[in-house]
Structures are given as C-alpha cells and as structure tokens.
C-alpha cells in the first residue's frame, strides 16, 4: 500500500511537472522526451510544493490533497494543450561509445538508488528537512504556525524554505505515513534528473554528444555525492539545488547560443525555484540573474523577458513575508553584513579563502574534480573567448567567491569550524555546473560560440 501511494505521489509530481515543462517549451518543433522528463521532475517538485504550501493557508487534510491533485491534473492538461501536436523524440545512442557511456550513466543512477537505500537520512536531512515534512503530514499537510515559533525546535531552522519538505509531505500524504526510508527516493530522482540535464547541456555546450555523456558518466565518481555529509544519499537539499542551478545556467547558455525564447523561459522558471529550495539559493539566484541580465542586455531583450527575472524575487519576498506573519524564530548563523562588521572581521578574509582552496583540493571530498574544472576553464580561456565562456565561468566561480565571503560575517566564534561544516555542501551546489565547463572544453566548444 505504501509503495502504491509512493508511486501515485511521484506520478502526480511528474504530471504537474510535465504540464509546466510543456507550457514553458510550447511551440517547440520537436520535444525531447528525456529532457522533458528531467525538467518535469524539477518543475513538478516546485509546483507541488508551492501548491501544497499555498493551498495549506486555506485548508488541510483530504480537501488540500484533492486540491493539489486537481492542480497537478490541471497543469498537465494545460501543458498537453500547449504541446499542440509537437512530436516526441527519444534520443538513442548513435555508436558504441555512446552506448557504453549511456550504460555507465544508468549504472550511476542505479548506484545512487542503492547507496541511498543503504544510508540513513543525515543530520540536516532529518532535522532540517524531513522534520518539517513529518510535522506537516501529522497536521494534515500544513506546517502549523506554532512550529515556526517553537524555540525548542529552532535547531531545525524553521525559516528554511519548503521545496524539499513540502515535496516529502506530498509523498507522505499519498503513502499514508511518514516514512524515513521511502521518502529518500526523491534524492536519487534528483540525481537522475541532473544526469539527464548534464548530458543534454554538456552535449549542447560541447557541440557533440559524447563529451556530455562522458562527463555525466564521471559524475557519480565525485566522492562527496556518496561519502560526504551532504551528498545525494543522506537527503540534503544541496545536490537538488545544484541540479536546479545546472538547469538555470544550462538553459541560459542554450538561449544565448540559439537566441531561443523557450530556453530563456526554462531558465527564468528554474531560477524561481532556487530561493524556494534553500536559503543559499538566494546567492545562486543573484549570480544567475546577473548572468541573465547580461544576455538580455546583449540581445536587447523585451520588457517581458526582463520581468521574468523577478519570479524568484516574488518567491523570496512571499516567503519572508510569511515568516514575518507567523513570527518565525530565526537562527543566527550569520551577522548582518555592514561596513563596520567588514572592518572588524577583515582579518578573516585570508584564512577563509585559504580554507576555500583547501576544501576544493581535498581529494577525499572531490578527488581531482575542481582541478579538472580549472583545467577546463584554462582550455576555454585559450580556445573559446566568448560571452558564453564568460557567463559559465561567472556561474561557477562567482557563487564560490560569494559563499566564501559570507563566512567573513559568520556569527560562530570559530568561523573556520562553521566553514568546515557547511562550505563543502555549498560547493556541491556548483559542482554540476562545473561539469558543463569540462564537457565544453573536452568537445569542440561550439556550444559556447
């Protein structure tokens, strides 16, 4: 019964996601089935979590579940109408190398499911994310306002956004129980979606298919994904956020290359999910919005396109207003950055960026991944000095620099201890986008032209 519920829950997420994806990709001559599936998962989680949260303001229990299900069906129906006869294309490997690499990618996805089943939810996975889902499930799908004010549960960061918890709640509502094992299914699914998107974006940026497939096959070998305290297998939000960021950067570069409004729509919609997934998503949103503004300025974008950038701001402001209304208890890991604080803590800059370098070169977490990314950007700097290369390097290095700078304002007395517990997870959010640069460098990088 639990499994049937789980399948139904996942099915409704995909239904809503397909609807959103088809609406965003409307008027596409040919729809890639794998691409739509991956985007359907991302947008499905976004749509269901938002519907559940917004619907929960007015109702709870079965009526809420019915309303959100109807919303999913409605989105799917609208998307199907917008598809308007565009044929589906299922991409098939063209030669033995592509078959081999595709098999390795499938192996990577299965590995993530297996590793996920072996591990427990990690600290944050349990006490930051699943705890909210459990409480919401026990309260008919709505996180009670008392939770936000509960000082004894402030360790669970009530102010964190709800994409992951509400998606988990949705599965619980369908399964009929809060189950710490089955709920982890969503994280390997984020890996699968990320793998498909990386293969697609990597291939587009490389100008050939095999480099995209090759970097995707190598993705599973990043040690932090399976070993670290923030990888796919322990139910943290960092890798899912990395997958959304990959979609954001990937579709922005695609829109730049093809001058394609559809890709820009996907970029803008995915960007709105960043601050709804995790607080750090705000930093990624800022970088992505800046990159998008460069593209729009270069393409002399229409006002409507500029307006699409603000969807993320609406999500962010809406969430902050809600937290204010429910009097949420805020945790204080960071001080308010101002000029005085910067002068006081300026001595931290050196140690912080030394730690950034140390972490990126830590083989137990990343193997040689960041060195490979550095080599890729070195290659691209010689061979592909285009705006695309600039945007990609900005998309990868600007968040790392901003994340590093944030520790200058850490409220922890031992700011380096703060950094060592959280910074590796922040790098995980950028990691999938880093692979795109590798694919572009390995291929003929026609995609960044």
């Amino acid at each position: 019964m639990i499994l049937i519920g789980l399948i139904a829950g996942l099915g409704t997420i995909l239904l809503a996601g397909f609807g959103v994806t088809l609406l965003l990709l409307r008027n596409t001559p040919r729809l890639q089935a794998a691409e739509c599936l991956a985007l359907a998962w991302l947008f499905g989680c976004g749509a269901v979590s938002l519907l559940l949260f917004l619907g929960g303001i007015f109702m709870t229990g079965l009526p809420l579940q019915l309303l959100v299900t109807l919303g999913c069906v409605g989105l799917a129906f609208s998307g199907w109408k917008a598809k308007a006869g565009s044929p589906w294309v299922v991409p098939k490997p063209a030669n033995k190398l592509e078959w081999f690499l595709s098999a390795l990618i499938v192996f990577g996805v299965l590995t993530m499911f297996l590793a996920s089943a072996q591990h427990t939810l990690g600290w944050d996975g349990l006490l930051n994310w699943e705890i909210k889902a459990r409480y919401a499930f026990l309260s008919g799908g709505v996180l009670p306002s008392a939770y936000y004010r509960d000082a004894a549960r402030v360790f669970s960061h009530p102010e964190y956004p709800l994409l992951i918890p509400m998606t988990e709640t949705w599965l619980y509502l369908w399964m009929g129980e809060a189950n710490q094992f089955w709920v982890k299914t969503i994280f390997p699914l984020f890996y699968a979606a990320g793998a498909i998107l990386l293969a697609l974006v990597g291939s587009r940026m490389a100008g050939r298919r095999w480099p995209g497939l090759a970097v995707t096959a190598l993705l599973v070998l990043v040690p932090f994904l399976t070993n670290g305290t923030g990888g796919v297998v322990v139910g943290y939000a960092d890798f899912p956020l990395g997958v959304v960021y990959l979609a954001v950067i990937g579709y922005l570069l695609t829109s730049l290359k093809q001058d394609d409004a559809r890709s820009f729509r996907v970029y803008a919609a995915a960007m709105a999910l960043l601050p709804w997934m995790k607080r750090e998503g705000i930093v990624l949103w800022l970088v992505a919005a800046f990159c998008g503004a460069i593209v729009l300025w270069q393409r002399r974008g229409k006002p409507g396109a500029w307006l699409s950038l603000v969807a993320g701001v609406a999500v962010l402001i809406g969430w902050r207003v809600y937290l204010h209304v429910v009097h949420a208890v805020e945790s204080h890991d960071f001080l308010t950055p101002d000029w005085t604080m910067l002068r006081t803590n300026f001595y931290r800059v050196g140690p912080v960026f030394r730690e950034v370098f140390m972490e990126m070169s830590r083989a137990s977490d990343w193997s040689f991944f960041w060195w490979i990314v550095l080599a890729a950007f070195g290659t691209l700097a010689f061979r592909a000095r285009h705006v695309g290369t600039f945007l990609l390097s900005l998309g990868v290095f600007a968040p790392i620099a901003l994340f590093g700078c944030s520790y200058v304002f850490s409220a922890w007395p031992d700011y380096l201890a703060h950094m060592s517990t959280s910074f590796p997870r922040l790098l995980l959010q950028i990691m999938p986008a880093g692979w795109v640069a590798v694919a572009a460098a390995v291929g003929e990088n026609r995609g960044l032209d």
């Binding site: 072996q118 699943e130 004894a152 360790f155 710490q180 094992f181 070998l221 137990s364 080599a375």
Partner: protein, 164 residues
C-alpha cells in the same frame, strides 16, 4: 593540418585527466557502497539507527514516541541534556523530533552536576521529564527506562520539593 597534432594532444590530455580522476575516485565509491548493509524500509529507519548508535536503544523511536503519548496533554514535558555534550544534545533533538505535536522545552545540565538537573523547576506544570544521556537525579522517584541512557519520569512520580 596544423590542427591535427593539437587535437591529438588535447585528446591525450583529457584522456589522461579522466584516467587519473577515475583511479582516484573509484575506490572511494566502492568504499561508500560497502559502508553499510541494505536497510529494511522502516518508518523510523533513520531515527532508530541514530538512537541505537547514540543511546543503545532498539526500536527507540517507537518507544520514545509511545512513552510521550501517555503523558497528560495539558502539561508539557521537558528534556534535560548535558551542556556541551554532542551526543546528549543529539538525543534531545531526536526526542523533540518525536515529541510533536507536544510542546517540549529543554534545559541544559552542566557536565558533572547532573544529579541536580531539573532542580528548581515548577513541577506542577510538567507532564514528565526526559533525561537524555543524563543520570536520573534523586528527586525523580519512579522512572521509565526507555533505553540504557534515556529515561522518562512521568509527573505523578516526581516528588514535590515540599514532600521531600
């Protein structure tokens, strides 16, 4: 023609890079997959494992959850944890996780003086006290031992200060 040696060099470079990366990373993936056995899909899959590791409890989530359910509704339980003891704090957080929808408060007992833990509390407002890796003090008469290092003292068994 000049592009051909360059392309070959580039190809060889990236092949070498990938090989080094695979050799460096593959053993870590194998180690991660061997780290733990496949777990049965239980509702409290993670909290049970944590409570087994930190508090030596079997079926700990259910036992804590059931014990807290039996406490009177109108009063609130409190948890006592050792200050600056990560294991005790962690058990406290798991107790808070399992206690929902009950409001619960935590107080920290300084390490080494846990025999006085909870001294001075207004016990008329308490439904019970959960000791998280803290030895039960003298004022707690009848305790329910939930695990080797987790115990619950329901309110009727707490001796009122004037009765001692």
């Amino acid at each position: 023609m000049a592009r051909r040696p360059l392309a070959t060099t580039q190809c060889a470079f990236w092949a070498a890079v990938c090989l080094i990366y695979i050799i460096g990373s593959a053993p870590r993936l194998v180690k991660a997959l061997r780290a733990d056995a496949f777990n049965a899909p239980a509702a409290f899959h993670s909290t049970d494992k944590y409570l087994a590791a930190t508090a030596g409890m079997t079926d700990g989530s259910r036992r804590i959850g059931d014990a807290l359910t039996l406490l009177p509704d109108k009063k609130r339980p409190i948890g006592i944890v050792k200050s600056e003891e990560p294991v005790s704090s962690f058990i406290g957080m798991v107790v808070a996780y399992l206690a929902w929808p009950r409001e619960i408060r935590f107080i920290s007992a300084a390490t080494g003086v846990t025999s006085d833990a909870g001294e001075g509390l207004d016990r008329r407002c308490l439904s019970g006290v959960v000791f998280c890796d803290v030895s039960t003090p003298s004022w707690a008469r009848k305790r329910v031992q939930l695990g080797p290092s987790v115990s619950l003292v329901p309110s009727p068994t707490i001796i009122e200060p004037e009765a001692r």
